[in-house]
């Protein structure tokens, strides 16, 4: 069976689930962030696959924008994590419960 759109979508879906599992499972802020990046990448793969198999380049332009926004997000998010670590000396979500009522 030749590789088609469905194959790429399955890979993308499994990668998305792995990212989600990482976000729920891991308690370290940095690893949670990596899980988010994996989810974004899974969406990118689905978009590129759709773009290829529907003969439409718009999907790839969209992926270009997603990569740019993800880079900006990582820069600000990591700066936030560093600022948080300076205050609380921890990057572990179970230690960061001071907003709990």
């Amino acid at each position: 069976m030749s590789v088609g759109l469905a194959h790429y979508l399955v890979v993308s879906g499994i990668l998305f689930s792995l990212g989600l599992l990482g976000v729920i499972l891991r308690r370290n802020l940095l690893v949670i962030y990596m899980g988010l990046e994996m989810m974004l990448n899974a969406a990118n793969l689905a978009l590129v696959a759709f773009s290829r198999f529907t003969n439409n380049l718009d999907g790839q332009v969209f992926v270009f924008f997603i990569i740019t926004v993800a880079a900006a997000e990582v820069a600000v998010g990591l700066a936030l994590i560093v600022a948080l670590y300076r205050r609380r000396q921890s990057a572990h979500v179970e230690d960061l419960t001071f907003m709990k009522l």
Binding site: S2, V3, G4, L5, A6, H7, Y8, L9, V10, V11, G13, L15, S17, L18, L20, L21, G22, I24, L25, R26, R27, N28, L30, V31, M34, G35, E37, M38, N41, N44, L45, V48, A49, S51, R52, F53, L57, Q60, V61, F64, F65, I67, T68, V69, A70, A71, A72, E73, V74, A75, V76, L78, A79, L80, I81, V82, A83, Y85, A91, H92
Partner: protein, 167 residues
């Protein structure tokens, strides 16, 4: 046929490395996770090449595997995360995570089974730099400029947030 073989190779490597990012049985060290995330990105770039998205494959390696992951590693080295290795995964977290992921996956596969994807015709689209550039500077000119402003805002925000004392 060779392309199919490469697809299975890259897909398997991507998923295995992705799994090792989140649940490495040998080490919970964030540095190991980051290294496997780099490998995931590189194999995804291979999948992009198989989809003839050459420009995006190069961008993926340059921006993700290069810039973003270097930023991650810098921050990991900036923070002292030695205590992380002594923490174990919680059974409650594993259970809820597996339930949530199982639900998402079942929804996804049911949708995929019903979707009228059909037999895909031989596609001829080429995601070359020229084709993407033409589109970016004609139809998507305004979003392109807005994204550049967004990058500027992110840069200012990151500098402001990482100053010694926030006022």
């Amino acid at each position: 046929m060779t392309a199919d073989l490469f697809f299975y190779l890259f897909a398997a490597c991507t998923l295995v490395c992705g799994f090792l990012v989140i649940a490495n049985p040998f080490s919970l060290n964030p540095v190991t996770s980051a290294m496997f995330l780099v490998l995931t990105m590189v194999f995804l770039a291979g999948l992009f090449v198989l989809l003839h998205a050459f420009f995006l494959a190069a961008i993926q390696v340059l921006v993700y595997a290069g810039a973003v992951m270097v930023l991650f590693l810098f921050v990991i080295m900036l923070l002292d995360l030695k205590t992380e290795e002594r923490r174990r995964l919680k059974v409650f977290g594993i259970a809820t995570g597996l339930i949530a992921v199982g639900a998402i996956l079942s929804i996804f596969f049911r949708t995929l089974a019903r979707a009228p994807l059909g037999a895909s015709p031989a596609p001829e689209l080429e995601g070359s730099t020229m084709a993407l550039g033409k589109l970016l500077f004609t139809r998507y000119l305004l979003p392109f400029e807005v994204v550049s402003v967004l990058l500027l805002v992110a840069m200012i925000g990151a500098i402001f947030l990482s100053k010694k004392e926030l006022k």
